[in-house]
Each structure stands twice: as structure tokens, then as C-alpha cells.
Assembly symmetry: C2
């Protein structure tokens, strides 16, 4: 692999001049510049970004930590991040946190030791305090889908409360009153926000539903099935069930069908996230859109603004969810 030194020799200039034409920040005479360029081409020179990083103390790479590398939700998000960063000539180093504290911290250490210029995190096991210290300690951090007091500027959030509200309100407006709720794990902040929105909508419509119609799920399809089974076994009737994510909504719909319940004829089902799959289910799932791709892009944009100063697109910290009407919900006569 050719080095800057060999290029300088072939071009008959100093090593510093070569460096200058590469970075393009200092003025170089046109004559020497073309000479250097030619030499580069001839030697098929490629800058060693490792050396560049060491010398400039900038790695041009940002760490991306997500809970899982698979799943439609994270896929869209990663795609957004990578697309935006790649366009700026930056690298993304990914790691998975598996929603486990030790694993998340480990991954973050991993990324830091790699000297990432910034970290984009989607974590839920690690504490707010930890993230605050992390950001203070030298590695800028932007957090997705989590609001951290004292670090709001670095958070890219979805208004989960509003999402939960919209989901339930939609059903309520269509005449449903007996609406069951299958939530995610309540230790997650976004889950609690969605539930709060749900409760607000209920309250607004003077609607009280018994506790037995509230089930804490696990965000997985099987969890949806289990929740539905539980719902079916308790005495309270219900005409609709709103789920805290699309996977569980799938489980609920499948379970309903297995129990000879027609969706949406006998039961309306509402999802959350608007995962790609939700367009393919039968019936097509009515859900709340979570713009994960856009939010990933925005997180990357944040980094471009604050770290690389190469973007002038304003940062949007809060995203608003919207209702996506499809076929799994029906109005009550």
C-alpha cells in the first residue's frame, strides 16, 4: 500500500503538500496539486484512515448501539443512521446491547475504546446517570427514544404518550368502550408513556375499564398470544384490544382467529410501530406510525451538526406519531 511519503516523492513535493491537497483546507498551487493528484492515481494511493485518526484525533466513525441487529424496527433505524452518515463520509460501527445492562455497558466500552467521535444509542437497561456521565466524559452521546433529564438536547424521541393516546382515542371515537390493553414490559420508560397516553384517552372519554383488561406483555408475538388467551379467560367482555407494538398485535390477531373471532368483525385490534410486516398481515394492521428510519437519520444529523459541523439541517428532537388506518379496526354500530 502506497503511503503519503511515496506520493510526495513521485510528485516531487514535500509530504506536507500531499497532505494539504488531501485535506483541501490549505491553498496549494494548481501545478503542484495536479502533480500530486497524478502521483496518487499512479500509485493507486488510498489514505490510511487509521493513521489519519491518530494524527488528527478524529476517527470519522460513530458508534451505533441498538438492542438487536434484527427486527424491522432497528433495521429501519440503522438504515437511516447509516445512510445519513455514509453520505457525509463517516463510518458506523454497530453493536448490539440486548436490553441487558452488562451487555450494553460492555458494548459502549467497546465503542469508546475504538475512539468513535460520537455514540448513537438505543438502550434501555442502562441508567440515566450513566448516560449523563458518559456524555460528560468526552464521548458525545445522542440517545434515541428515551428522554433524559439534563440531556434533552441529545435526545431524539417519539412522543410515546401521544402515540398511546392516539391509539386508544381512535378506538374510542369509533364507539368502542370495552377496550383491552396489552402493554410492553413496564420497566421501560417508553412503555409507561404509551400506557399513560392510553389512560388519558380513556379518561377523556369518561371510560373506565376493569384491571383485568390490562395485560403486561413482552413485545413478542408469543406474548401477544398469551395475553389474548388471558383476556379470553377472564369474564369481562371487550370489543377492541390495543397493543403496545405490532408483534404482539399479530399474536393477538392470530390467537383471536384460532378462537373463531373475526378481526375486525368481532374484535378490533390496534398495533404500534407500523413495522413493515404490519402491511402484510391479514387483516392489514391498523397501527401507530413510529418513524424509526427518520429518527435514525435525525440522530445522525445531530452528530453531523454537533461533531462534524457539516450539516445545516435543523435538529428535531421530538417526533409525532400518527395513526395509520388499515383493516384491523372497525367502528361499532
Amino acid at each position: 500500500m502506497a503511503t503519503i511519503y511515496q506520493v510526495s516523492e513521485l510528485a516531487g513535493v514535500s509530504l506536507a503538500t500531499v497532505s494539504r491537497v488531501m485535506n483541501g483546507n490549505t491553498r496549494v498551487s494548481e501545478a503542484k496539486r495536479t502533480k500530486v493528484l497524478e502521483a496518487m492515481k499512479e500509485l493507486n494511493y488510498r489514505p490510511n484512515s487509521i493513521a489519519q485518526s491518530l494524527a488528527s484525533n478524529c476517527t470519522n466513525s460513530v458508534g451505533l448501539l441498538v438492542s438487536e441487529l434484527y427486527g424491522p424496527f432497528f433495521g429501519e433505524m440503522m438504515s437511516g443512521v447509516e445512510g445519513e452518515l455514509r453520505a457525509a463520509g463517516k463510518h458506523v460501527i454497530v453493536a448490539a446491547g440486548h436490553s441487558d445492562e452488562a451487555s450494553e455497558k460492555d458494548a459502549i466500552e467497546f465503542l469508546i475504546s475504538r475512539k468513535c467521535d460520537a455514540l448513537i444509542l438505543h438502550v434501555d437497561a442502562v441508567s440515566d446517570q450513566y448516560l449523563l456521565e458518559l456524555n460528560q466524559s468526552g464521548t458525545p452521546v445522542v440517545v434515541i427514544n428515551r428522554s433524559i433529564p439534563g440531556l434533552m438536547e441529545n435526545c431524539i424521541c417519539l412522543n410515546n404518550q401521544l402515540g398511546g393516546y392516539l391509539a386508544t382515542k381512535t378506538l374510542l371515537e369509533m364507539g368502542h368502550r370495552k377496550v383491552a390493553y396489552v402493554s410492553g414490559p413496564m420497566w421501560k420508560t417508553d412503555v409507561r408513556d404509551r400506557v399513560a397516553g392510553h389512560r388519558r384517552a380513556l379518561q377523556e372519554f369518561d371510560c373506565v375499564v376493569p384491571d383485568s383488561l390490562f395485560i403486561e406483555g413482552d413485545f413478542h408475538e408469543e406474548g401477544g398470544v398469551k395475553a389474548m388467551l388471558q383476556l379470553l379467560q377472564q369474564p369481562e367482555p371487550f370489543t377492541a384490544v390495543v397493543c403496545a407494538n405490532d408483534e404482539m398485535a399479530c399474536g393477538v390477531m392470530n390467537c383471536a382467529r384460532d378462537n373463531n373471532l373475526d378481526v375486525p368483525g368481532d374484535l378490533s385490534v390496534m398495533g404500534f410501530d407500523n413495522v413493515i410486516m404490519s402491511r402484510y398481515t391479514f387483516p392489514h394492521l391498523t397501527t401507530i406510525d413510529f418513524p424509526s428510519g427518520e429518527m435514525g437519520r435525525m440522530a445522525a444529523n445531530w452528530v453531523r451538526q454537533h461533531i462534524y459541523q457539516d450539516s445545516k439541517k435543523p435538529v428535531q428532537n421530538l417526533f409525532e406519531p400518527t395513526v395509520v388506518m388499515r383493516d384491523s379496526v372497525r367502528g361499532l354500530a
Copy 2:
């Protein structure tokens, strides 16, 4: 951030000794070793992996190039790669190639300039020749789902031919004879392999189907819908359709339902890939399992063997697909 120099000073040893206890390859007296370890702890020292990379000419990072960052298929694969590599203390740098030649090459250049120790590629736009030269030129390459003459040792493949064969054979054995086929883009090698398997099964059963029952799709859900529409408009009757991937199978099923065709009552549908979603569709999709996660893990294992020499698990170059029976296929009386 503390450096090795400060540690050496605090420990009262030379800088070289510190380096030695870090790497643990040379013997160091127990006394000095503990002194160094203590100093490290006190200074909260973390090695600068950039400097390590420059000095050792080993970045401990491998580039991973996939077509897209989203989608269940790549998600599973990436997850396999990251899990295996992370366990070995290696980093993975990801990029998306978008099945476009310029984009794929660009991404590869990107990864190379980052001095990845090896590249794991899932590409389909770039030529065999290019990959051969790439591998020769200093950056070891392992290719997923593509067999390259002269580079077979570096390829982790699925037996697509067998997969295509199994898909169609399954239907044939159940009595179907009028089986339509919705393929992927024919310029992709794996697509052609699947088609070849399909043809082989047909031949084996002395079954000839008219050309109008063969549609070239695009691997997307909409493509499945369009293909099904096309199938419906031509005169030849058919009792089953095998699709080159699950997404298109979803489209076919949805379109069938929209046209009052019961699946599998009136029409059997076979998918390919066994994407997570296929378990959630209605009816649950019968398909061919593509062990993308395992193959990703194996690609990573290849790298560990050949580049880092820290794995003794044997490399498996060829994976066999299997039939996953679910509810979208039914035998003909």
C-alpha cells in the same frame, strides 16, 4: 485520557513493559506486572485501539457489507456475524450496498480505507473478477450466498438449487401439477439457481408447465401482488405457486385473498427464506428455511480461523436448506 506513558511513569517501569503486560505475550516479573496493573486501574487507563492498530497493522475490525440494513434476512445475518465476532473481541463496521454496483464498490473502498482485517460481503452487483482481485489485493474476503470459481474456500453458500428443488418437489409430491413460479430478478445468481432447482423437480416428475406460469418478480411484496395479478389474467389454470422469497409469497397470498381465492383451499403457496414474518402471516407460510443467522456466524468463524486464528470450529462452506411445513400448502386430492 491516560496513555501508556503515564502508566509506565506511575508504575515506575518502562513504557515497553506496560505494553508487554497488556499483550501478555512476553514474560514479565510478577512484581512489575502487578505494579502496572495497579497503575492502569488508578488512571482508569484504556488502550487507544487506533494507536494499536497503526503500530500493529491490525485493526481488530471486520467490515460487513450487506444489501440493506433493514429486512429480516439481513438482520439475522448481521446478528450472527456481530455475535460471533464480538465474542472474539472484534468490531464490525457495517455498510449497505443497495444491490448497486457503484454503491457496492464504494462501500468496499470505504471499508478498505478503514483497514478492516477482513471483509464479509453479501453483494450481488459486483463481478466475480472484482471480488477475486479484491481478495488478492491484500484484504481477505469472505462471500456469503454466492459461489465464486477460484474462491470457493472463501464462500459461505446456501444450496439454492436444492432449495428450489425442494420447494417445487414438495408441491409435486402432494399432487400438484399446475404449479406457477414467481422468481426473483434473473440477473442474480442465487435466483437462477433456485429456478434451476425448480426446473429439475418439474423434470423429475415429468411435469411440463407453460411459460405463462413463470413470472419474474422483484423480491418485494408488491412484486408478488403484480405477479399474481398477471397469473390470474392468463388462461392457464394453476393450483399452486412457488415464490422465490417470502415477501413475494405474502403479496401472492394477499392478492389471492383479494380475488376470493382461499389459501390453501383454492391455491397452495410456497415461500423461500423462512423469514421471521412468515410465522405470522395468515395462513402461516410454508417455506424453505434459509439459515441466514447461522451462515453469518459461520462467515465470522471463517474470519476468526483464517485471520485471527482464535477458533477451532471447522468451517462449513455449504448449507442445506430444509422445508418448513406450515399452513399455506395443501395436498391435492
